[in-house]
């Protein structure tokens, strides 16, 4: 009895003494976590796993935030999938939107920036992307970055992502560009807060915006002293924003996406988020915090508790935005650990404009005829006025005619009988 008790006591003491310590995630574990996000996305409600993610209904999301981050994250990891199918769907989506005033968006330049990254991820040249309304190829860089008037109309994100897209694409800045690396950097630099971070409003640094700005600065730090200084201050700011669990918050709420974008930003700047002592709080790193949002089915959830500012993000349920951002954060980290390049850098990748001028197949003659008929009938019926009167009169006429016909028939029959 004494032996058992002492053993039990020893065990209990050991338990209380064990300090939760961060075990650095091995590259294989990081890759597996990323692969499981994609596997989760490929899994249908009935449990069957599709061969490719870029197939079927998923392609309807090409050109939107629901779709574009997947080819981006997956290409960064070299994951195989049907990128050609995604590219075709993306091209058609952009082509149709370009036919309307405002093209991809009346006010948001970031629509172009995200599509540029998705296009690059599929190996497509964003400067000759798809058929424009005037027959010339659509140049997403020109329209979304170089010649975009009031690129900051939506706020900081406009400048940040314009700079990211500019750096991502291995193409020349036109001589008469309205926005260049210099002007975009200047816009960011003048908005950097005293604490080294950025915010939409006020003096309190916002982790997400600071991290995104840091991603934009990454390619400049090596050759531009001012950019390096700004990036270093941003890194220090992020270190100070880290909470007691090693994670990050938005509006005071700890959430997955804030952790993800910080992890990505640090990796893009060559800072290992697990090894840099500035980013270990209470034995936990941003990577620990990010992975804590992982659910058993491989997806990621937004938060552990309900956030009134984000009504559609149900706590502890899979969240699509969390999955997307975790995916590319894990990709950035994996690439850092394995010595591969920055995930926002496509300078070494081969790009092609082949297929930019593809148009959807015109409807067959039969389909066109049916469509015309439908339209004509629709016009005809649409012109009917005072339907009730028309129907009543018509019915009356029909009844009269029918009665007349019957009467004539009866008379003739009677006639024949008599004959």
């Amino acid at each position: 009895m004494k032996k058992t008790v002492s053993l039990l006591l020893a065990f209990l003491i050991l338990c209380t003494l064990s300090v939760p310590c961060a075990a650095a995630a091995a590259p294989e574990a990081v890759l597996r976590a990323a692969e499981e996000i994609v596997a989760y996305k490929k899994t249908a409600p009935d449990g069957t796993v599709g061969e490719n993610l870029f197939a079927g209904d998923f392609l309807n999301a090409a050109g939107s935030t629901a779709g574009d981050w997947y080819p981006f994250g997956m290409a960064a990891l070299g994951m195989a999938d049907d990128y050609a199918a995604y590219l075709a769907a993306l091209r058609e989506n952009v082509r149709v939107r370009y036919q309307a005033e405002g093209a991809l968006s009346p006010n948001k330049a970031t629509e172009w920036h995200r599509v540029i990254l998705a296009a690059l991820s599929c190996g497509a040249d964003p400067t000759r992307f798809c058929m424009g309304p005037d027959g010339a190829p659509v140049d997403l860089l020109a329209d979304g970055v170089f010649f975009r008037e009031n690129v900051g109309r939506q706020g900081l994100n406009g400048y940040i992502w314009a700079l990211i897209a500019l750096h991502a694409c291995p193409c020349e800045t036109p001589a008469n560009a309205v926005n260049t690396e210099e002007t975009l950097f200047a816009a960011l630099e003048e908005r950097q807060l005293a604490n080294g971070g950025w915010a939409a409003a006020g003096e309190a640094a916002d982790a997400d915006l600071t991290a995104m700005a840091l991603i934009a600065l990454a390619p400049m730090a090596a050759k531009n002293g001012a950019a390096k200084a700004a990036a270093d201050r941003a890194i220090e700011c992020l270190a100070s924003l880290q909470n007691a669990e090693g994670g990050y918050e938005n509006g005071g709420f700890a959430n997955c996406e804030s952790c993800a974008v910080v992890v990505a930003a640090l990796c893009e700047n060559g800072v290992d988020p697990e090894k840099d002592p500035r980013f270990t709080k209470n034995g936990r790193t941003p990577v620990d915090a990010l992975l804590s949002y992982r659910l058993p089915d491989g997806s990621f959830t937004h938060a552990f508790i309900s956030d009134p500012e984000n009504p559609s993000a149900v706590p502890m349920e899979p969240n699509d935005m969390s999955c997307q951002q975790a995916l590319y954060a894990l990709a950035a980290y994996y690439n850092l650990l394995t010595g591969k390049g920055r995930i926002f850098d496509f300078s070494g990748k081969p790009l092609s404009d082949a297929g930019w001028d593809v148009l959807p197949a015109p409807p067959s003659a039969a389909e066109q005829a049916a469509d015309t008929l439908r339209q004509r009938l629709g016009d005809f019926f649409a012109e009917q006025t005072n339907r009730k009167t028309v129907i009543a009169a018509a019915l009356a006429l029909a009844v009269i005619l029918g009665a007349v016909a019957l009467a004539v028939r009866a008379k003739r029959r009677k006639g024949r009988k008599d004959a």
């Binding site: 999301a61 939107s64 006010n107 409003a201 009504p311 009917q384 009844v399 005619l401």
Partner: protein, 173 residues
């Protein structure tokens, strides 16, 4: 023979006129354009669409939109409509916009990462049309609901306000 032909002709005429006089619509189409009459027994809701905050921030407004701002910023005054079973705040907006010929553009729930309909623009005012903090918000009975408009089911007597705010960061949630 002649009478048979006459009968057949009469029947065909009746049918043709019946079909010609009828308006064929899918069920969806019918419910979309048909505005129910308000009776004493009907459950009703109220909706208003207001962009008056733009008038406080005209310096930030996209110049091309100056002509689109109605007097006083009232795109639609508080109006009563019949509440249909299962109506969400978005269903009401969609029907109301159509009934009043108000431009409204939205992004389907499957086209964004939130899984919720995103109302992009009403009356040609879009997010960021009046500065970086501008955009549409909706309130029900004076409070911000805890879900996107396509997920919020309405109840009898609810008042849905669509407000274009130019300072969304100052809104209390």
């Amino acid at each position: 023979m002649k009478k048979d032909i006459l009968i057949i002709f009469a029947v065909i005429l009746a049918l043709a006129v019946l079909i010609g006089g009828s308006n064929f619509q899918s069920v969806e189409e019918y419910y979309l354009v048909h505005i129910d009459d308000i009776t004493p027994e009907s459950e009703t809701v109220f909706i208003s669409i207001d962009c008056s905050d733009v008038l406080n921030h005209l310096d930030r407004l996209d110049k091309a939109l100056l002509d689109e701002i109605p007097p006083g910023g009232v795109i639609l005054p508080r109006t009563e409509y019949v509440l249909r079973p299962g109506d969400t705040a978005f269903d009401l907006l969609k029907r109301t916009a159509r009934h009043n010929a108000i431009q409204m553009e939205y992004q389907g729930a499957d086209r964004n990462a939130f899984g919720s309909v995103y109302v992009q623009g009403i009356g040609y005012l879009y997010e960021f049309s009046c500065g970086p903090e501008s955009g549409w918000v909706y309130l029900v009975n004076g409070k911000f609901p805890d879900k996107g408009c396509s997920g919020y089911e309405l109840s009898d007597g609810d008042w849905v306000q669509w407000i274009y705010s130019c300072e969304r960061s100052n809104f209390e949630f």
